[in-house]
Amino acid sequence: MPAITNDTVQKVWDMLATVADPEVPVLTILDLGIVREVKVSGTGENEKIEIIITPTYSGCPAMDMIRMNIRLVLAEEGLKNYTLTTVLSPAWTTDWMSEEGKQKLKAYGIAPPNPQQNVCTPELFQQEEAVQCPRCESWHTHRISEFGSTACKALYQCDDCREPFDYFKCH
């Protein structure tokens, strides 16, 4: 029995791996760490699947679309007996982003998040994080703004190649 269950779980994970993030389409929702768990109960006709997801930021406008895209992919695969649950706890963190995801981000021109560090505390005027330019790999960069084009990004500029770039900020 567990073997069958695992099979289903694996199949669902494979389907979810094809769902892209609408705002950063090079990342899948698995790269982002949005999918927390796939649970299966019962067997055969009574098999029920629960997919548990969590938002990146409370106001992330992509969440509604991500839910819809998950439903579309599962519908295409003929999967019907499932529930899609959104949980808030534990709160999402950039530490859940996959290594592969970080590489894809960099190749796309967005600096991937550093591991969580002191910038996640309320202390003022903190030393900026050393963020590597995704284009020329220089570490001589500076922050233009802690808030960027989407909730999850900050705006940086490279002091060597002079290109401005997005940094997927640690959270």
Binding site: S58, C60, L124, F147, G148, L155, H171
Partner: protein, 266 residues
């Protein structure tokens, strides 16, 4: 259904919704593009937090019990439709909004908007620190999720208070005016409403923590709190649905589409 708890959740959601709505009016009008984007990002976070609270309140309000129906009616809403986050935001009148008066105060100039965010974010941070341990696990989860966002808001707004207060004579004067204008709306944060009786929070401890932090940043900004700041007359009533004249205008704009075309969707 525990009506005090639901009212408390609405109070938390209304406060973040109204502040989000006020801040969002700066979209396209910020002093520079980066700060325009910063404030709209903050709005988006606050709006998301409001949605989380409303979704949870709606879930609790959809119990099919007479007392729940009575409660919904007591908030001026109809009981024949399913309560949703949108119904809570768009179908409630001013008298049944329980947000803090501070959040509905006008944007004024950039200084006043910054100061309003600063006073609230400081409070939100210390409050949510406590709410993370709330016995209701969903409230605790929303607080734990939100506080990570609030950390950014409070850092951003505090740094701007210091920059502007300790900036030019003009920016200093504007920040000082903002303090004098908004201070009378801060007392309400620490006066528990009836529905907060069950929320096991030490409001006087919270106030001391908040006041210490605010005082220290105001000093760093070379600004000053109003003289005898503890004796300033404090406006209250927001938590009970008694609002300043500003909320009516805010809701008129926010609810316009659903009032004109009920149930409109796209």
């Amino acid at each position: 259904m525990n009506t005090s708890l639901v009212k408390y959740i609405l109070h938390l959601g209304d406060t973040t919704l109204i502040l989000a709505q006020q801040n969002s009016k700066w979209c396209g009008h910020g002093p520079v593009l980066e700060q325009d984007i910063a404030l709209t990002n903050i709005s988006l976070d606050l709006l998301g937090q409001a949605r989380n609270f409303y979704q949870y309140a709606a879930e609790l309000m959809n119990e099919n019990e007479k007392s729940t129906k009575d409660f919904i009616q007591s908030l001026g809403m109809q009981t024949d439709e399913k309560i949703t986050e949108d119904i809570l935001a768009y179908h409630r009148k001013e008298r049944f909004f329980f947000n803090l008066l501070l959040t509905e105060q006008p944007n004024g100039d950039w200084g006043q908007t910054i100061l309003r965010q600063f006073l609230y974010s400081r409070f939100q941070y210390y409050l949510y620190e406590k709410l993370q341990e709330h016995p209701d696990t969903q409230i605790a989860a929303i607080a734990a999720k939100s506080i990570k966002e609030t950390t950014y808001h409070l850092r951003w707004s505090s740094e701007w208070v210091i920059r502007l207060g300790d900036g030019t004579a003009e920016s200093h004067e504007r920040m000082q005016n903002a303090i004098d204008n908004l201070w009378p709306y801060t007392g309400e944060m620490f006066l528990p409403a009836d529905f907060e009786a069950d929320v096991k929070i030490d409001f006087s401890g919270l106030k001391n923590k908040w006041l210490d932090a605010v005082t220290s940043i105001v000093k760093q900004a070379t600004l000053s709190l109003p003289e005898n700041e503890n004796k300033v007359y404090m406006h209250t009533g927001g938590k009970e649905g008694r609002h300043t004249e500003h909320l009516g205008y805010i809701l008129t704009e926010l609810q316009y589409m659903q009032m004109a075309f009920p149930g409109a969707n796209w």
